[in-house]
């Protein structure tokens, strides 16, 4: 059994999106309830979040963008840069707390208080680019985490694995010129799914060429394709890169009953994904892995998928 940390804060519920928006606070409530029912809360080590210092956000995002986002929230605008990106007055502070939560988890793993950690944060982050909010994301939590690992903890090579059903265009854009952060994403094919990036031929630019890898999956496909592609694409790539630390963008919207996508992953398929990632982390990163919540919108299946994922992390 492993000591697994759990980042959560009541404040994450206070990022209120418009009525009927899929990225609602009910997602976290459902996850918490699921963890309690599964008896996981007792075994998880609680890590309290703190707002990220702005300089860490600036390590990833353009300062003008950060100010623009803060202004939009303070002015009480209904959304930021696109109507998908529903905001309230507190969204800016909560977004700082989400990125800060990931940083706290990093501190806990690096100082060996825990072996690994799951961050039940929102708003999510992987669509957020250097200077653009997209797909319900404002600050790229995982990207801030990667920079924090490098600058604060001296980790040289960070591996990011993104299994949200949508391509993490933000994370890709932030690191596409960088050979110190490897980004792997498996997602629904961009011709069908948001945001329309993450094609097989997007492999990074300049210095970063070869440090981005994308596996698009056609709608209607599921477990079989994921098993095959993770084995042929992800495993050799991580083996070659040998990350010292792994960050995971954990999206649970590829499940067959999540209408957000056309991918039909089963609960078993998701377990395979989690197991494969943890095996890689054990092998190459001394088990150091932090998984950060991204998407997952069907409240019927989300709690079980997260519970399964955490069980695999904690080896229970």
């Amino acid at each position: 059994m492993k000591k697994t940390g759990f980042v959560y804060d009541q404040k994450y519920l206070e990022h209120i999106t418009f009525e009927g928006h899929p990225e609602s606070h009910y997602r976290l409530l459902a996850i918490l309830e699921g963890l309690q029912e599964n008896g996981l809360m007792e075994i998880l080590q609680q890590i309290s979040a703190a707002p990220a210092d702005k300089r860490w956000i600036e390590a990833v995002h353009n300062i003008k963008y950060i100010i623009k986002f803060e202004d939009a929230c303070l002015m009480g605008l209904p959304d930021f840069e696109h109507q998908d990106n529903s905001i309230c007055r507190d969204t800016y502070d909560i977004a700082l707390l989400a990125a800060g939560g990931v940083m706290k988890a990093i501190d806990a793993v690096m100082s060996k208080e825990v072996d690994n950690a799951f961050c039940a944060v929102r708003p999510p982050g992987h669509h957020a680019e250097t200077d653009k909010a997209m797909g319900f994301c404002y600050f790229n939590n995982v990207a801030v985490g990667a920079r924090y690992l490098q600058k604060q903890w001296g980790i040289k090579k960070v591996g990011i694995i993104d299994f949200d059903v949508h391509h993490g265009n933000g994370t890709q854009q932030i690191f596409e010129n960088d050979d110190t952060v490897f980004y792997y994403s498996i997602h629904e094919h961009p011709s069908f799914a948001y945001p329309g990036t993450g094609r097989e031929f997007e492999k990074g630019l300049a210095n970063g060429e070869g440090y981005t890898l994308n596996t698009p999956i056609l709608p209607g496909r599921g477990d079989m394709d994921y098993r095959k592609k993770l084995t042929t694409d992800m495993i050799p790539a991580i083996k070659k890169f040998e990350p010292e630390f792994m960050l995971v963008s954990a999206g649970f919207d590829a499940h067959a009953s999540d209408l957000m996508s056309g991918i039909n992953l089963s609960r078993e398929g998701y377990k395979f994904v989690s197991e494969t990632i943890m095996n890689l982390a054990n092998k190459y990163s001394q088990g150091r892995v932090i998984s950060v919540l991204e998407g997952g919108y069907n409240l019927e299946v989300l709690p079980d998928l997260v519970a399964d994922h955490i069980k695999i992390m904690a080896e229970v």
């Binding site: 899929p22 998908d84 797909g135 949508h166 069908f192 948001y194 945001p195 056609l218 496909r221 957000m260």
Partner: protein, 229 residues
Amino acid sequence: MFVSESMKTDLITIGPDAKLSAAKKLMQEKNIRHLPVVNDKGKLVGIVTDRDMRDAQPSSLLPKEDYDRTYKKVMSHTVEEIMTREPLTISVFFTMQDTLLVMQQKKVGALPVIDEEGYLQGILSTRDLLRSFVSIMGIGEPGTLLCIMAQEKQGQMKKIVDIITEENVSLGSVLVAKSWDVEKRAVFPYLLTNNVVKIKEKLMQQGFELFDPMTWYLDQLEKKGDTLL
């Protein structure tokens, strides 16, 4: 949708009396494969392609001495001698669809665009056409493609658009394809959003079938096989 919006207007042209050496240099420097030939009044009189240039050049299999001698001779000829006279042209009022069909049927890689008096206004190559279709399909912008099977009857498209409008979502484009089932049509709206759950639910409530393109493709193959048998 008109070619005038997508064509290149910063034109690189050459006169009919220019030497082939000049034409070759120009095409290499500017990295272009089609060089419109205009007279001193600016009227289009022909076009030279990289293929015309290659046809005029000596064979690369010749011994070097022979090659160099012939090459020098060839390059002193004029553009007028090898250009395609009265090339296929299109007017500024051609739509992109017209152009697509012309290019497909006539198998040309670029079309000079002329006005009513025959003056050259622009040139449109397959590369420009590609760029324009990326924009028409809306795939340069983030969004989600829905795959809907609708009955082939009036009012279906309105229903779909109404549902999308009710959810306040912008449409990037809509493609409609025939289905193997003559009573159905496949409709592919490209929605400029990530937020598609509500729309999908409403479509299903109203009796539309959402399908996987892969399954659809395989079904089509099957039906094709049936008719062959």
